[in-house]
Symmetry: C2
């Protein structure tokens, strides 16, 4: 009997796996055109292939999420890197974080404007500094010192996001009210991977929210809120209304519920997103993997761009299905 | 029997309570002079009186921690507000955060240089903005817009901290190595209060670490790491080697262990500080109150400046005793 249980466990253990998201609060299904569908679906599918190549050939979870998130940062379709939303002042301010489940080391950058791949800067903070978090100009100086690729701020600019800001500024001017675009703050990207050595890594990257002011920092660069990883439990990356994810320490809470309540990754993630956060109108979702490569990807918004890949399963989804 | 249990509970419930800290990693007991003892002890004792006056006369937990922390920020003896340590560039960069356990709202500022009371700025972010965290110049602009008292950066300067930086810079110059002063990064202040209405609030304020570079952000302005509060569970404020407190989501973990493992505030706090963090050489301590006004104040350093007050108990302590 003991042997059979153990064999079952081995069977349910994936050799490697990766789960990704391109943000909750997607384009409404009713407004999705075939062309847009192809763009988003294609980008998410390509991102899965990038992680697959690394993980299937014995690469590390950390390398897999870095390469995957860099690709999503370069893609103009998501609110991270190129394609990030604009602040009130018409700038792209980027946040990213990473956690390595093998040693619980972590790194994050907040409010950076000229680092081509914020996720790589977060990794450098983790591996090449004694710190976990750097912000603004200091983080930019560090990334330069580390030899990371710099980008002219214009690299991040897309017409779609620029027009979103202009529309809001116009609305503010005509009504006198203050708007921070709730709808378009949800395009954050993230990835969680499990490699053949049983290591979990999680990362998140974002441009924050359209028309954001006062150097606001959301949950994406906050370890415990937007990102968490622990080889013994799970890896987590969140997306949504960041303030709620900070106040509820969402990413750490998934790990805590698995650890202390013995919940599965699906139970813990689902309870937090669909009960705890839903009850307080905290909109968003998360992706997570447990140490066996089982995934959870709950969201309480209309949709969440997401995908999963392992040696025996692969899919990209956008809405509830 | 049921009645008697209920009466016992009422008996163990404090009408109000407050716990404070002035940092872990204090001046070594062997180097403590009677004069210094008087200064530190006196400041902590005065801080308790400030909270006492507010809480005993029906004031809110939030008002109590704000007034108490403002006093500790103004005191030159602690690494927060006036008396903050210096960055590598010779600046005082201040971080603070607050959480209101009654609604789990939270606020934080990071890397601010001219706000006289960073704790008040964190409270304004919580109460008067849709955000949880603002950093740098944006946070400064917001605080000004909110009418908070501004200070010339020279207000925060003390000779003692300036000399600490000069000593390290000299050491770096002569050895070529890079130092960030571990010893003097521990003077963070914090307070947790329970008011007569059963509301818990927690706040933390710091100057970070001597010779810090790259706009490093520690745990003090991170909700879930340095500060947490939930009326149903506890209020927590941390002090110590901030990177570990972020990676282990210490403040939220106290609440999670109480919630999911049914541990007392003492059990949860002690396990995290003296087992979890100790095992990975994460030095520091925390203060916490549960919803009945019971306190915990474990630390794994030589000392921690701390104090507690309730209608029937009052003390200030510095070392293990």
């Amino acid at each position: 009997m003991a042997k059979s249980t153990s064999e079952e466990k081995v069977h349910s253990q994936k050799e490697w796996a990766m789960v990704i998201h391109g943000g909750a609060g997607t384009i409404l299904e009713s407004e999705m055109t075939p062309e847009k569908f192809k763009q988003f679906h294609g980008a998410l599918d390509s991102a899965l292939t990038i992680g697959q190549k690394i993980l299937a050939s014995n690469g590390s979870a950390l390398d897999a999420i870095e390469a995957t998130i860099k690709f999503l940062e370069d893609s103009p379709y998501f609110n991270a890197g190129r394609g990030a939303v604009f602040t009130h002042e018409g700038k792209n301010e980027l946040d990213a974080s990473v956690m390595d489940g093998s040693n619980k080391e972590a790194g994050a950058v907040g409010g950076v404007t000229n680092i081509k791949h914020p996720i790589s800067a977060a990794i450098k903070v983790m591996t090449n500094s004694p710190h976990v978090m750097m912000v603004g100009r200091g983080a930019e100086q560090f990334s330069k010192q580390q030899g990371l690729e710099q980008a002219d701020p214009s690299w991040f600019k897309t017409d779609r996001r620029w027009e979103s800001l202009q529309k809001i500024l116009q609305k503010e001017k005509s009504t006198g009210a203050v708007y921070e675009e709730v709808d378009s703050k949800f395009g954050t990207v993230g990835a969680v991977a499990l490699d053949k050595n049983g290591n979990l890594a999680a990362g998140t990257s974002t441009g924050g929210m359209t028309n954001k002011k006062f150097n606001r920092i959301g949950d994406s660069p906050i370890i415990g809120a937007g990102t968490y990883a622990d080889n013994q439990l799970c890896g987590v990356s969140c997306t949504g209304h960041g303030e709620f994810f900070i106040r509820y320490a969402v990413a750490h809470d998934v790990a805590a519920r698995m650890d202390y309540l013995n919940e599965t990754v699906e139970e813990a993630s689902d309870f937090i997103i669909n009960t705890k956060l839903k009850e307080v109108d905290g909109s968003g979702g998360l992706i997570a993997l447990d140490k066996n490569g089982n995934y959870a990807m709950p969201f309480n918004t209309a949709g969440m761009y997401r995908g999963y890949i392992s040696p025996d399963e692969r899919f990209v989804k956008m809405y509830k299905e």
